[in-house]
Amino acid sequence: MTEPLSRPKRKNPLKRTRLPLSPQPMRSRAAHLLTQAAAEGRFGLPTCLACGHHHYPPRDACPKCLAAEIVMAPASDLGQLAAATSVEVAQDLYFRERTPWRLGTVVLAAGPSVVAHLHGDCAEGDRVRLSWRLDRSGNAVAFAEPAVTTPNMSDDSQWREMTNDPKFRRILITDGRSSLALALAKALAQAGASLIFVGLADAWKPFPEMDAFKRIPGVEILPLDLTDSDSVTELAGEIGARVDILINTAEHIRPGGLTERTGVTLAREELEAGYLGLMRLAQAFGPVMKFRGADGANSACAWVNLLSVYALMSWPAYGVYSAAQAAVYAAALSLRSELRSGGVRVMNVFSGPLDTDWFQTVPPPKVAPAQVARAVVDALMKGIEDVFVGDVAEDIRARLAKNPKALERELGQ
């Protein structure tokens, strides 16, 4: 049984902060089939398109019929733990700090045997469930957990290495005025976050949700204006070393394409709040979070960007907004790579139009803020990095994967 995690003690400022290390990040191109699945929290196995044979480790040709087309196909994630061990003597520095480290051989019902990281509640002979997870190097690894839920399961130390569980972590929600902020704060408090900093720009302006925020345990409202470099730097100086998960809720939505607007003022505001806001946050909070990537049970672990799914393909009805979101997305990918060496995962959450004022004229289905908040917490707990929330986002993702050119025409009609 998993020992429940206890609230991390206040840090001794005289002690050296443990620097983040990475498990070995090299992978073959074929192995990134798994990375793709892990990034979205899907299971499947490398599968021959010609004969349907599942195999593992990933290969460049089918070991049954030698065909070259290998895809990730759905398969049962259940199997039996045939053997288990715990590494007491590791070669890699990352694992040396974390021994004993458990692993085992899972014989999948679908066929292949998979050497996997092992949840502490799995014993030899047990039925287990396998998933692909992103490790701290950002690459996919197999992880075996008990087939049935066990008490305090998500507190397992190896499990926590793969995930970004908000429990006992300290969160920064950058823009309290965002339509998502309140729902996020509630969901994170419920998930066990120990502190929730909420940034608030222009405190003199009315903020009707203030009382609702204050009722949430652990919430602290602090001044933060994402369009002001000094404001961002100042807050980072104050709380930067205590932010374990940063959730950028910056939001600036206006309808219209390029020719429907006059001048560039609005577009500039969108870039200020979104693209440049992200850059300011990255410069102020990125280095310290990266430095704290292995700082105990409440290490810095995740950076969440809330994006419109139209960052991936322009929706001309909101064309300038789509362009600004695309800029944020491109920057987020760079940030993901930059923070990876610190073990801090950049998570991009794509949603369709939210059920808010700025999408008043857009027909349903629309996404409720609470739905986004649930998805964010769920993805943090699973360690996913690409999250699609709601039917529209899923639909755009599917159409984009199938035929981007068709999607471009369809969105422009």
Partner: protein, 401 residues
């Protein structure tokens, strides 16, 4: 398989295996693999009483030779062979080198083939070699705790113990017997006796693998010459003959977890070629990268039935002067694992035993020896298996003064 009927196996007649060479091992070396292989080659030439130019075949096994392979060594050493081979196959490399060299000599493609395995061991080279050992290791093993082969074999051993009822004490008996054998072998890195108590109470490395199940990575080289019997006789070199040999890779790929090796597919062929049964063996040298694998070889090579390895171990002593002499120079567990040289260790020791010139204790009445190779765990199992039966030795003629 049916196709094989049209291609009957040829025997190894006329092939002599001679001049066993060991370049004494060290735990860490500042030298390169090139240096170790060069020392072995020099020893082969001087002990055979030939010149470097007489060597017209060079077969090299090494993990630490990069970026070179055998071809680069020809210029490095100033030789002009008409046959070269590169076999970085770890524990299977010795038998594999011998098989290939034997055919080259039989066919006349080469007259004297130097088979050399040599590896260096720098302070950090073991860790480096693990992460890049194979693509599957890179993708699917090393990122899982980086326990290296210790962890991989722990999974195999754990499954084997649960399936067949072998215990740590059974593995310990093999390790202790090997250490006793090593005490008379001058090049063993382990020079102190090992007791079963010490074995049992050793620290855990990756349970059920504990310290004395593991080989010590080191630097060193092993080598021998393969030539025609006529040449060996004209050089007045003692030699042994190949009675039979087998080799198999990626056998039983559908076994969910490894509990047997490729020998099972080919052992009837092996003993059939030699017209022998396992009870006629004077000694056996298994590839002992973990005693569990030695036990598996005892089963799979027919010394006992599958699953009876533990009983067989309990019933025999495995020391040089006991029943079923096994790993008579101490094996890698006591001598050390000098990379690919570990795959040559049992073969070189067997040549010495059969020609009556062991560096340690002599196996009484040694006539036929079985050498088994195993290796290359690129993902979850050792892929290569090989074996050779050696015998009918021609011993050194007394030279009158």
């Amino acid at each position: 398989m049916a196709l094989r009927a049209g291609n009957p196996r040829r025997d190894y007649s006329g092939v002599a295996v001679a001049v066993p060479v060991t370049v004494p091992y060290v735990r860490y070396s500042i030298e390169t693999a090139h240096w170790w292989i060069g020392r072995a080659l020099a020893a082969l030439v001087s002990q055979a009483g030939i010149t470097l130019a007489d060597i017209d075949g060079l077969s090299v096994a090494s993990f630490s030779l990069a970026p070179d392979t055998t071809i680069g060594l020809t210029q490095h050493f100033g030789i002009t062979p008409r046959y070269i081979e590169f076999l970085p196959m770890g524990g299977a490399s010795g038998v594999m080198a011998l098989r290939r060299a034997a055919r080259a000599v039989q066919s006349g493609d080469a007259s004297i083939v130097a088979c050399v395995a040599g590896d260096t061991n720098h302070v950090d080279s073991f860790r480096r070699s693990l992460s890049t050992f194979s693509r599957f290791a890179q993708d699917a093993v090393y990122p899982y705790g980086s326990g290296g082969p210790n962890a991989s074999f722990a999974l195999i051993a754990s499954n084997y113990m649960r399936t067949y009822g072998a215990t740590r004490a059974d593995f310990g008996k093999l390790a202790v017997a090997q250490r006793q054998n090593a005490l008379s072998y001058p090049h063993a890195l382990m020079k102190k006796p090992l007791t079963l108590d010490e074995y049992m109470s050793a620290r855990a490395i990756s349970p059920p693998i504990h310290l004395y199940d593991c080989v010590m990575p080191c630097a060193g080289a092993e080598a021998f010459l393969v030539m025609s019997e006529d040449i060996a006789q004209s050089l007045n070199l003692p030699f042994v003959r190949m009675l039979a040999s087998i080799e198999r890779h990626n056998a039983f790929a559908d076994d969910a977890i490894q509990h047997r090796g490729g020998w099972v597919m080919d052992r009837d062929d092996l003993y059939g070629q030699a017209g022998l049964t396992p009870d006629k063996l004077s000694f056996i040298q298994t590839y002992d990268d973990y005693p569990v694998i030695s036990m598996m070889q005892l089963e799979d090579l027919g010394l006992c039935a599958k699953g009876e390895g533990a009983d067989f171990v309990r019933a025999n002593s495995f020391t040089v002067d006991g029943t079923v002499p096994h790993n008579t120079s101490g094996g890698q567990l006591s001598v050390g694992q000098a990379g690919c040289a570990g795959g040559f260790l049992g073969l070189v020791e067997s040549i010495r035993q059969l020609i009556g010139e062991p560096l340690g204790r002599q196996v009484r009445d040694a006539r036929v020896g079985l050498v088994s190779g195993f290796g290359m765990i690129t993902y979850d199992r050792g892929l290569a298996s090989s074996a050779v039966l050696l015998g009918e030795a021609s011993k050194r003629k007394a030279v009158s003064a």
